[in-house]
């Protein structure tokens, strides 16, 4: 400790050391007699739960309860579990283009166009969507972090997800090391994903006319991911994080339920073919996050740039502000998120019957060029003070409302006959989430 050599550094290091001491779960152990049986059982678990309701204007709606629990282990490690259940229902766009004439489609489960109960008809001018779409998803994960030394941590984990037509399992491992008095953390993580797809009604042959019902059995998909992260304490109240990630997916990457309209010169849909995407995709992204906090205000700015081998480039910017009240037990958090992406090289909202057979083809609007804005407002209240003996530090109730609007851009000009139709309707959605942390 050379005087004058590094002004203020003793204090900075002491703050870090005392935070480690006072923040450690160790001391939370013996706390007296107020806690009841359940209290003791979950005493060491931090639990976050949320119930989200999502609704797209005229399309899908979803209800999603999420629960996650984190426990600090006695060896300095950490165990995290999470569980999600999704229930989706509503109308799911099938990829075809609106038309001046009614269009009739068969649901994916149909075996032929004869069985009327599997058919649905779309009125002129409406976006074709399967009105009987419903899906349920169950997902869970576990992550175990263990200290290798005072500065190094290893974490290993796994995730699974289960739907009627899709199963996914992922394993991941990460190493994290602190440097520079724990002001700098570097992490490296790898993951491997294996998916199994069994589309309802079978896997359609790519590019085949959908009325032919050329369908096969199950398909698989694999993914590998690599992520390099750097977190830096810039100042006592300023945290900065940079992530570089590389993902590669291979195998069956189509959406087995998406069609592409074949439109003749007069604007009539003459056929629908199944989409065909490349069987590999490599994605690179850079993510930068800065968070600065003052006594009653904090600001977070997140920026992301992503590019992939399908020709999609995307930019994301998100700004979040948080204001606390004078007692610091309630906060408001407005946020705005801007997103823009370019189209995949093989995105075609429709094709002409005379067009040379294209190798790769998709009309999925998620692969189109679009931009989107999300406005959000969150309110949270700490209940520790209000629950008396039942509360504990960190008990919080919060509610979040988000409004999302997506606009398709730069779409190829439609045939003259389709003028006047809203071929690429914008998507509006709301999300309401209620959360309770204990």
């Amino acid at each position: 400790m050379q005087l004058g050599a590094d002004a203020g550094s003793v204090r900075r290091r002491l703050i870090a050391a005392s935070c480690a001491l006072l923040g450690s779960s160790a001391a939370r152990g013996e706390q007296g007699s107020v806690t009841d049986q359940i209290g003791r059982l979950i005493e060491d678990w931090k639990i976050q739960s949320a119930l989200a309701y999502y609704r797209e204007d005229g399309r899908i709606q979803a209800i999603e309860p999420v629960i996650s629990a984190v426990r600090d282990l006695s060896d300095g490690g950490k165990l995290a579990l999470n569980f999600t259940f999704d229930s989706l229902s509503g109308s799911s766009p099938n990829g075809a283009l609106p038309s001046h004439t009614p269009q009739t489609f068969a649901s994916p489960s149909a075996k032929s166009l004869a069985a009327a109960r599997h058919l649905y008809t779309i009125s002129p001018g409406r976006l074709p969507a399967d009105p009987n779409y419903s899906d349920a998803r169950v997902a869970g994960g576990v992550d175990w972090t263990l200290p290798l030394s005072r500065l190094t941590r290893l974490s290993v984990g796994g995730k699974f997800s289960y739907e009627d037509d899709f199963y996914s399992a992922t394993v991941n491992a990460a190493v994290e090391r602190d440097f520079n008095d724990k002001n700098t953390t570097v992490s490296l993580s790898v993951s491997s994903e294996n998916d199994f797809l069994q589309p309802i009604g079978g896997t359609p042959t790519p590019l085949s006319d959908y009325t032919l019902f050329e369908k096969g059995g199950h398909e698989t998909k694999r993914g590998q991911g690599l992520l390099l992260g750097l977190t830096q304490v810039m100042r006592r109240n300023w945290l900065s994080e940079v992530n570089l990630s590389l993902d590669r997916f291979s195998g069956y990457l189509n959406d087995p339920y998406k069609l592409v309209s074949v439109i003749d010169g007069a604007g009539n849909p003459v056929a629908y073919v199944y989409e065909n995407r490349p069987d590999s995709r490599t994605r690179r992204s850079v993510y930068l996050e800065n968070r600065v906090g003052w006594t009653r205000t904090s600001v977070g700015l997140e920026l992301r740039y992503m590019t992939d081998t399908w020709g999609i480039h995307s930019d994301t910017a998100q700004l979040r502000l948080r204001w606390w009240n004078a007692g610091r037990d309630q906060y408001f958090e407005p946020s705005v998120r801007w997103y823009r992406q370019s189209a995949a090289d093989f995105y075609r909202p429709w094709i002409a019957p005379t067009a040379a057979q294209e190798n790769y083809l998709s009309a999925d609007s998620r692969l189109a060029a679009f931009h989107a804005l999300t406005y959000g407002l969150k309110y949270g209240i700490r209940l520790s003070d209000r629950l008396g003996g039942f509360g504990r530090q960190g008990t919080e109730f919060n509610v979040r409302l988000e409004y999302y609007q997506q606009t398709i851009q730069n779409s190829p000009a439609a045939p003259a006959a389709l003028q006047g139709l809203d071929l690429y309707p914008s998507l509006k959605a709301v999300l309401l989430q209620i959360g309770f942390n204990y």
């Binding site: 005087l3 203020g8 005392s18 001491l21 007296g32 005072r150 520790s384």
Partner: protein
């Protein structure tokens, strides 16, 4: 713990008693666990196992981790193994300055780096001793503070013998805190305004030796075994936690003549009395 332990709350509700008990139970728990005067303390148990390796509970391990970091940050000035110097030094106002050879003989038994510490396993060599007195009281304030934070609907101040921490201002303004100035008359206590955060004071003017006109203060440098020359009589530091404030005031004392400069460099509010 020396000195009164109190929790101040602006309330007429009967839960004040319950909140006070929460803090008191925590203070007693920590004192019982780490007192060097009690035979049933964890500290006594550790000392009884000298020479062999013991596995510490999580809380004790975090305290030893913290002590290790303080030792490293201060380059050996703050050392929980230095309590053994009390065998040579008795600060009773007399002129019994110990023989240099006696002090010298204790030095091999001092030094955190002589312990074998790989959390949670600790081995103390024969003859060495741990003393958590330099951390314990401030730690107890912070612990009690955390417990009350989760329970108290109103602002509060935890005061354990002059080391204290407040949660937020009173409805009508800051807390008024009187800091005793050792050596100065009682009525010369300094009044401070504190909205939130912690204050800790080091120093005790009644503990010294006087020989041949030379005053030997009670702040001992663990590296030499001798009092730090020109140590301030008292140092009070304001910081976000009591643990942090306590360490800064202790380190300032150990800096002797350089105390003021050290505190200025840490950019903290402090009050120093020479």
């Amino acid at each position: 713990m020396a000195g009164p332990c109190e929790v101040l709350l602006p309330t007429t509700e009967h839960n004040a008693r319950e909140l006070g008990e929460v803090a008191a139970v925590e203070a007693w728990r920590i004192e019982k666990k780490y007192s060097r005067y009690r035979k049933d303390s964890v500290l006594a148990w550790i000392h009884a196992q000298r020479g062999s390796t013991v596995r510490l509970d999580e809380e004790t391990a975090s305290l030893i981790d913290f002590a290790q970091q303080c030792f490293e940050i201060s380059e050996g000035l703050f050392d929980i193994t230095s309590g053994i110097l009390r065998r040579a030094w008795k600060f009773d106002g007399s002129d019994r300055v110990p023989d240099a050879a006696v002090v010298q003989s204790l030095l091999p038994l001092i030094g955190f780096n002589k312990l074998r510490w790989r959390s949670p396993f600790l081995t103390i060599p024969d003859g060495m001793e741990l003393d958590l007195g330099g951390i314990g009281k401030e730690y107890a304030v912070d612990r009690a503070y955390d417990l009350l934070m989760a329970r108290s609907p109103v602002p509060f101040l935890v005061n354990f013998g002059g080391d204290l921490r407040a949660s937020r201002p009173l409805p009508h303004g800051p807390w008024k805190v009187g800091i005793e100035r050792p050596g100065a008359a009682q009525n010369a206590a300094m009044m401070l305004d504190l909205e939130y955060g912690a204050l800790a004071t080091s120093g005790d003017s009644h503990r010294f030796l006087l020989k041949d006109g030379v005053r030997f203060g009670h702040v001992l440098d663990p590296r030499t075994g001798w009092p730090v020359p020109d140590a301030p009589r008292s140092v009070t530091v304001a910081a976000s936690s009591c643990t942090e404030a306590g360490l800064l005031s202790t380190l300032a004392m150990l800096k002797g003549a350089q105390a003021q400069r050290f505190l200025q460099e840490q950019e903290v509010r402090y009050w120093l009395l020479r």
